[in-house]
Symmetry: none
Subunit: 283 residues, 2 copies
Amino acid sequence: MDVLSLTYGQFQTVYNVLSFALASMIATTVFLLAAMGRVLPRYRQAIIVSAIVTLIAAYHYWRIFNSFEAAYVAVGEGDPLAEGRTIMDVTYALVAGEGFNEGYRYVDWILTVPLLLFEAIAVLALAPLVRRGLMLKLIPAAIAMIVLGYPGEISADTTTKAIWGALSTIPFLFILYVLFAELSKSMRTQPEQVRKDLNGLRWLLLATWGVYPISYMFPMFGFDGPDAFVWRQVGYSIADVLAKCWFGLLIYKIAREKSRYDSPQFAEDEFKEAPSSMGGDRA
Amino acid sequence: MDVLSLTYGQFQTVYNVLSFALASMIATTVFLLAAMGRVLPRYRQAIIVSAIVTLIAAYHYWRIFNSFEAAYVAVGEGDPLAEGRTIMDVTYALVAGEGFNEGYRYVDWILTVPLLLFEAIAVLALAPLVRRGLMLKLIPAAIAMIVLGYPGEISADTTTKAIWGALSTIPFLFILYVLFAELSKSMRTQPEQVRKDLNGLRWLLLATWGVYPISYMFPMFGFDGPDAFVWRQVGYSIADVLAKCWFGLLIYKIAREKSRYDSPQFAEDEFKEAPSSMGGDRA
């Protein structure tokens, strides 16, 4: 499944979407670390882990960006900028011996996906036994899901892809069962707004994680070549930004709400309308 | 609209102005993160977001700077530094196949412009419903403004540019309406000095954002080639420094004033003249 040549527009699309994902990961990491002190101590573990997830992803997007840049070289017949030609006539060819390394994505996922599930549970500050029970189900399942997907990803054979894809789907469905059935018991005791946000978190996870198997199945539907390559890079990048940055910011929002609910002092300091916004008749 | 060759002076101007913008973005990011603790907790969200805006811009200026440096190569007949020639005789030619990537600016704007409006509202610490109402108007309008501008920016056709430019102007005018008409209601309850600074903030936004459409329209007035390229880079860079660094520092000033107004303890700790500055006759 080699993509030997890209048009100028295809190259620029992948280039800019990878850069967008990298910028989003860096910005979210710094935001979460800077904002960590704005939740009660018991919720800071979840915020730190969210920042570590986007940091790991930033590292991998930096590698993926550099790998993509090094893998393609601009070519054109004769001088690409000769009379009558524009930059749009440039095409990009795969450099002999250089490959665009997709392995970075799997290394990223094997580190970040268990951590994403960890932060979702950590922010609830459940009783230790309940938390432990949920983690012991979710984290091994997340690792199994990614490890089982990899042999199919690197295989060119449709049957091999289908078998490993099906095996990988089993732990994915188990994760969904735990999040949508078992977690609901623990959610009943949470404040109203937190329940709403947790529900949003689950659906965000389902919607963004759904992008990966769809992209995985492209070659099984005969969708291959440069267009499939560009769509896969764009899809993975946007899914990663939503599943890591947006997800982390939702975790932060839940931690803020829970802090407000837990501590009247916190609610007063952080959420009370400022006297300076309520009119000039301050005594 | 290819700029195939730049003089020594043109190249140096763009090179140095991009470096100036990068330095300003890094410095403002670190300043705001370091100074975050010097406002009351309820205003820190606005300061952190201001720092994230300049951080994202720093990332993109670093990329733009590198892209510019890689896109041009020094050329001269024979040895450019031979007898009788000076450094001023060097010219810079576009490297075949390398393009100076303007896409970075749009990726930057799509991330930072909604955040700039977010910080301007967040620093007011308004009642949640009022704040939410303003954000729901400003942020989608900001995204629409940038997305609608892009097809015109990359098109070489004057009519296409004019159509997309006009479409992009609609959300821009809506943003101005919200900031100059609707926001004024919320401003009435703010302390006198805060009202003055908020007014300054609105005019800074109008003045700096005005640079972008002017630069966008250069080719429509037949102003093209190397001079237009240099003016556009200088204009965008200075507008970005004002719209992000200066804007962020103004947000910080407003947060300081509001903190002083809200808390007598804060006013005492931060603003009271120090005993050590009041002469030696302290009892």
